[in-house]
Symmetry: C2
């Protein structure tokens, strides 16, 4: 399925996208660093290894301490890494020779890591450009900085925009065999979420018991979670990684959690359920508003539509729902235009997903989610939208509207009388103890619409209550 | 229990251990960096946060982005960190003010991170020494390098041996309230191991299903695992983190796994059980040898005995057992003296344990496990012994003998006729498909002996088989 031809073709495409057409000019090298192990609490106690997604996409090897190089001028692909010695074998087990690993992904040229410096130095000496992306780990940053001679802190300024654009162009369109993997990750998330829902029926359970069980399920399938589990009765905090609360009657549990397969394809699903198993009236009212936004957005997604427009319709759906409840007032179209809804929905509708749960985020959100046609907004709320540009067939993205009552933010805006023409603070102040609701699915943009990936996790009030009662 | 007085006393002790007695000479600063978040696959997707153990020991705060400073001359303790702003509150929830957090651990002086550079620069300018330990993460290395002006790669050369010795002196002796925490971590490990044993009864299960369940249990208790789980039917590889095999009849499953509490105290236990639930004769014979070594070693441990001597008795027990089986021959005392046993037992008997599962390993094993009286051996095998010095009351350490048949190593030694006066290669070659056995407990050195910590995990053949049958 993931044959060596796939990797050869991807690398050839990347090379052809970066190669200059001028015959009198050398194009240079592309440096794609694989990840090293990261130390946990001392050098040799390491976190679970995570390969760099670009390296994985173009070289397919899920092992630490590799460096990939594409020579744009000679057309050669190179892998630099060191063979295992007897000490490695005793402690870590055997590993095929680097040359064999290279051959398995169509790379003929391999060499010990110590030879990479010569290749880079020679290229620099010849005035050839070394294309690289800005690294996200200290060790890789140091490694690249040593190799190409730029300062540790200044690498970001010299990251290759041409390389970033060419990577985004390939990785943003998911092939069938990639979608099949993402769907497997979604099916694991189904198991994670339905297990958590049943646990949330039991008042007095601790969040960490649920979060731990959920993470365990991802690992029992051979992978792990695609990001730190958000499992909280304080769903008003968007990325709440604290799991120390006991779950109590009257609160809702937000679980935002996805699986990452051992090949790194990921899922990212959120459900919000009432502790104990039954929504009360106030919970149901807010929940139905978010659900309507989620479903309306999914309905709209198809090739050619800008995701920012889908986001704005989701905002409008939430604002209109809140107006019906008496929490907002006035002209909701204008309220959304000015950003008043962001008090309740301060984040974006979603992001692309793939080998990274926020796919390619480290290349720069503006390069992934925006283009010349769609520029990032500056207003609070919509500015957080990670992805705004036109949808294309083969995009995989999340749809995750939410509605939150963040006491500190509400109090700040209230004190500033901010958007008081749209927000009925007297009513809103009654919700300070509410928490938050988010409902998130993963969708694939198809030829003429979209489809939700994976086994459907219950999301209507009736379906959630039925599952929790089962 | 972990009151602020504990942290104040620890810092005062550290200060007094480092302060020079010369009145005409300034003693300088101690820099104790807290950890930052580490990126997983892009900058904002981070691994589970792990605080630095030294920072945790002296400042007690389990949150990222703090820096602790002890001024040896003024006697002041400082914490540098930034208060949360509204964006942080929306995304990550509220956090008490840095000044409040400082007060909770007895630190009066707090300041924004940006002010740390001035303090360091001033100290350097006054010719005062800045004591620090060699960091194990790229980001911390860069941070310290920027702060004190030494090169990223050369920090190791300038780490303060005086600081290391003073830290070891305090951390190696565990207080009662620390032992209670370690024992909690051992009790979680009991649950992890007995669950795994029951799963190992089922031929055809995948290693990752067991490893995932085991890691999930650690997390369901609010912490995580203390190191990457070793769960393998290829136990002959000492630190085997590959979990892709189906477990089959005739193999033994080595599970080396411990829990880390949310306050970072850890456990580290190993059991080796027969897939399917019944030891065959060959397995039983090797298992009993390792068990004898484990029990003999535990029997010997008490204050005043060198752990290297305990290690050598464990080696001798294994060698003599193997001689009875016909795998070794000749004078076993001499065999162990020359290191011939290391073909089967190539690692050390154990290590100290505490806030790190290999406690303080990053300070340098030679500073933690050895001293002027006990120097590290150079021979293969015993050279791997992480801890060799005299035991003291309050030490917590692991006892983990093993017996392995590592095909590549056996073939290499056989080809070299290495120690052929002690090793009966003809017999040994029949064990190439055996795998390995390791049995590990965590012990506390008491006033006149030691005791095994935590609920006892079954380890005799009869007890293991009984549990697997239950």
């Amino acid at each position: 399925m993931f044959t060596k031809d796939i990797y050869i073709n991807r690398r050839n495409q990347l090379r052809s996208d970066l190669k200059t057409e001028r015959k009198d000019f050398k194009s240079g090298l592309i440096l794609l660093p694989g990840n090293q192990d990261v130390s946990y609490n001392y050098q040799k106690n390491t976190y679970r290894f995570r390969q760099d997604s670009n390296f994985l996409y173009f070289f397919g090897l899920n092992k630490p301490n590799f460096m990939g190089v594409l020579d744009l001028d000679s057309g050669e692909d190179w892998l630099f890494a060191d063979d295992f010695d007897m000490d490695d074998i005793i402690w870590m087990g055997d590993m095929p020779k680097v040359s064999e690993l290279g051959a398995s992904v169509g790379v003929i040229h391999t060499a010990p890591m110590s030879e990479l410096q010569n290749m880079i130095a020679k290229a620099v000496d010849e005035g050839r450009r070394v294309h690289f992306c800005d690294p996200y780990r200290g060790k890789t940053r140091h490694q690249i900085s040593q190799l190409i001679g730029f300062r540790y802190s200044s690498l970001k300024n010299f990251a290759s925009k041409k390389l970033i654009a060419a990577i985004v162009k390939q990785r943003e369109i998911k092939a069938d065999y990639e979608i099949a993997e993402i769907e497997k990750a979604c099916d694991i998330a189904y198991e994670m979420h339905t297990t958590a829902m049943k646990m949330a029926k039991h008042v007095g359970t601790y969040e960490y018991q649920i979060a731990g069980r959920v993470e365990g399920i991802a690992m029992e399938h051979g992978g792990t979670v695609s990001f730190p589990v958000i499992c909280s009765v304080n769903g008003q905090t968007l990325h709440n990684h604290y799991h120390g609360n006991k779950i109590t009657e009257g609160r809702m549990l937000v679980l935002d959690a996805g699986a990452e397969l051992d090949n790194c394809y990921s899922s990212d699903i959120t459900r919000t359920v009432p502790v104990g198993g039954k929504f009360n009236d106030r919970q149901k009212a807010i929940y139905e508003i978010v659900l309507a936004a989620n479903m309306k957005a999914i309905e709209m997604c198809k090739p050619g539509i800008k995701y920012r427009d889908v986001h704005l319709i989701a905002c409008l759906t939430i604002a209109e729902g809140l107006k019906k409840l008496g929490l907002m007032k006035g002209d909701m179209l204008k309220a959304v235009e000015h950003g008043a809804h962001a008090l309740f929905f301060p984040h974006g509708l979603g992001h692309v997903m793939g080998l990274d749960v926020h796919d390619m985020e480290n290349l720069g959100e503006d390069f992934v989610g925006y283009d010349d046609e769609t520029k990032r907004a500056k207003e609070f709320g919509t500015a957080y939208l990670r992805f705004g540009k036109k949808l294309k067939e083969g995009f995989v993205l999340t749809v995750e509207p939410g509605c939150y009552f963040i006491p500190q933010l509400i109090k700040q805006w209230h004190n500033e009388h901010k958007f008081s023409e749209y927000i009925n603070y007297e009513e809103v102040l009654k919700y300070l103890d509410f928490g938050g609701v988010r409902i998130e699915d993963d969708i694939l943009i198809t030829k003429d619409g979209c489809r939700v990936l994976g086994k459907p996790v219950p999301k209507t009030v009736a379906d959630v209550e039925a599952l929790m009662a089962s």
